[in-house]
Symmetry: C2
Subunit: 520 residues, 2 copies
Amino acid sequence: MHKKLLLTSLFLGGALLTYGQDEKLDMATIQKIREEGLQHSQVMETAFYLTDVNGPRLQGPGFTKAANWAKNKLTSWGLQNSRLESWGEWGKGWQVEQCYLAMTAPYYKTIIAVPRAWSGSTGKLQAADILYISASDTTALENYRSQLKNKVILLDQSFDKITPTFKADATRYTDEALQKMASEAPNPQSGRDTTYRSMIQAMRTRNAFNQKMRKLAKQEGALGILNTTQNSVDGTLFVSGDYANASLGSTPDDLADLAIAVEDYLTLCRLMKAGVPVKLELNVKTKFYTDDIKGYNVLAEIPGTDPKLKDEVVMLGAHFDSWHAATGATDNAAGSSVMMEAVRILKTIGAKPRRTIRIALWSGEEQGLHGSKNYVNNHLVDAATQKLNKEGDNIAAYFNVDNGTGKIRGVYLQENQAVGSIFSQWLKPFNDLGATTVTPRNTGGTDHLSFDRVGLAGFQFIQDPIEYGSRTHHTNMDTYDHLQPDDLKQAATVVASFVYNAAMRDQKLPRKTAVAQAAR
Amino acid sequence: MHKKLLLTSLFLGGALLTYGQDEKLDMATIQKIREEGLQHSQVMETAFYLTDVNGPRLQGPGFTKAANWAKNKLTSWGLQNSRLESWGEWGKGWQVEQCYLAMTAPYYKTIIAVPRAWSGSTGKLQAADILYISASDTTALENYRSQLKNKVILLDQSFDKITPTFKADATRYTDEALQKMASEAPNPQSGRDTTYRSMIQAMRTRNAFNQKMRKLAKQEGALGILNTTQNSVDGTLFVSGDYANASLGSTPDDLADLAIAVEDYLTLCRLMKAGVPVKLELNVKTKFYTDDIKGYNVLAEIPGTDPKLKDEVVMLGAHFDSWHAATGATDNAAGSSVMMEAVRILKTIGAKPRRTIRIALWSGEEQGLHGSKNYVNNHLVDAATQKLNKEGDNIAAYFNVDNGTGKIRGVYLQENQAVGSIFSQWLKPFNDLGATTVTPRNTGGTDHLSFDRVGLAGFQFIQDPIEYGSRTHHTNMDTYDHLQPDDLKQAATVVASFVYNAAMRDQKLPRKTAVAQAAR
């Protein structure tokens, strides 16, 4: 049964225009999607495997194991041609085999520590003194050269205190916040450009200093280097790593590169400044993998059934890789589980999409959207012109989930305002589940950008933040227990419906060029 | 200069009564206290030594080192007769010498772990399997007897999930909350008694089960036991220990008794339930101390100068001991530093109190107010009758700080309503610093109760909670960085003034028996 929905409105550059036409929605199928997605969900079983059972999914054995499991799981659900597809050379795999750090004087305390990605090893349990470096420029750094041997480096920070949070760790969007997003101009972020640029500049200066220091540390035989961030409080550590160290040219080094809790870090700094003798002991073992340096995406399809449309493809994707300090539950086992659940729902209810539906689980997103970017380059554009080729032009839409565990509250138009009315209508059957908002705004930082960049209709959903920024995004606390089951069930249900609608629609979703036409 | 303050009002049993008489306040001295306390504070230096430099202050070397430092510091500030005074037999000292726990299969992950107080050791780095115990009564426990050898015990919990916090970790009292406290009847907690009693009952049942399990585990040669709490989230672990294990009768055992992060705990539970093979490795070394099993308080005086009043004593105190997972910064280096700072301020400004002022830094508070309770028993009451003796009758007041790092917002009358008007007037010079509220309410859980119990005028201040309940109270995050410098300066300033007022007043502070007279 098709049910017609009312015309909706769209804000365009701040001005309210009436736009759009009726979307024919297959409400019977949408009802089945809701029932399967909300009442018979398997999204948490999928997430359990990806996180608790599999562990981190950084390039290396962790990613490979999980990717093969996903490939087989998709096959078991009846998807076609489930496969790992290489997108090119990635670099060295890496994982942690042991990590222990403690202060042994002036008293004993185990320090919460996680090796940064592609950290080296200490080889064995080592006792060590600290070298406290207060230099802030690379010239002054040279003065420490002769003191580095067998030391653990502690670098003076630009901050010397932390502040308690009088804001909740977990939040949901209020109605007011969503209304504001809906009425914002496409790119309200532009006012922040100056701040952003100066932040980026400061980061580059800091990175240059850190690279110099690491080089010096390795040359002179330092044992390790400690790192922290001002928000690594309460035992929650923000940890990533230097992708440069994954390149084949770099040699596995013997410098242990450790992220530690900010409270421990500042304690060490204060003791060193006060001249109190401090001793450490540490044992760090990591392993580099060069047996297969290729990067892989997981891909699988539900073939289209309409002879005229089945060559066209609706894609849904999420990055499958994670950082390594925990099990990447909200970033992004959540999105991966939601996307897998969405296609499971469609297969389970026996949906017969007119277009082909393709799920993509990307790799290397954390290091620069490598999986999705290379997929687009390898398949969808002409290498010389970067214009869409035939296969690219056949992409009807791309949907991405990568904003944590929160339920879907709406969708970012990514400045593609021609889809505003369409998405408003598609959200209507899920308004009761809190999914209401269409915002003209851009959102960045993840794989829909690889599609958006070449002019394809690529979208990321608005999700409730929950603890994403405060506790889970790139932290040692990004674990299964921080996933919200009801939110993920809702998200999978909404995504399944969006994907189904896009696969059934007479036309592909309008691309950005359509905006100008619409505004005329 | 004395400045007369206006008469204030006092709520008594919910009814507003006019009560009290003018307090003569030495505003010149109070101004000096403010200046020294707010402009030239040393409270953070004191706290730095007690926490970062000294480490945990559980019975054993940690407490002893800090207590001797405090004794000497008080002497250096000009206090008289600074001393460690034994209050009797405490039990075995204990501290951690090494702690490492990791999951090694299905993948490697260091687990955030802290030995519970008086935990035993593993002797060396050991690999171990988990024994997952789902029994909930002591009879069913017997079935596991034969499987305990060399195992690490993981006990099924009554909860299987955690929930994100939509409330802020850090809070301050709002004006509304303070007004409510001020107008509450003396004992508004009584309505909670049923819940409280059932909670205590559940805790006793659980403790009995745990004791049985530990006994069995030791008999059968288990290697360790894992513990968690539902609020041990985000890397913040709530850790205490069994005081029973400190008694001389108990033998140091070889069972490692570890508190771990709830996310790690629940991951292990889910993996065991799903039949996924899990391996651990652990290395725990703890040390018991029996060279000196006595408990000590630190005491020191500023002698009174009025020949008629100098035998009377105004006491201020805070417990000096801490749990061991961190450095007991907010519980209770904060209170100890505030009290030390208060007497430092008074000495520095050259205050000449009419009565003697005595600071007491207690031990064994966490295990049952041992230090203060025994001080009262040893000095202030007749052993047979438990009535105040001459020395006890000379105690003009006792002030305590033990509610974390937050600034003082007022004071609990502890049902001693005769002091309401007095304290309201004493708070007036600090109203601008947020200290405004006198509540008839009781507050419990710390050392003022030892004085209150024998009829002395003993008080605890109302302090802003900041992160006390959420992040620092008995946790591995109770560190220097969670102290709030401005709050502690304010607290020391208010306390110094209260103590000075009590030492200068013509009469001792009224005791609870005075309430009846006042109401007449």
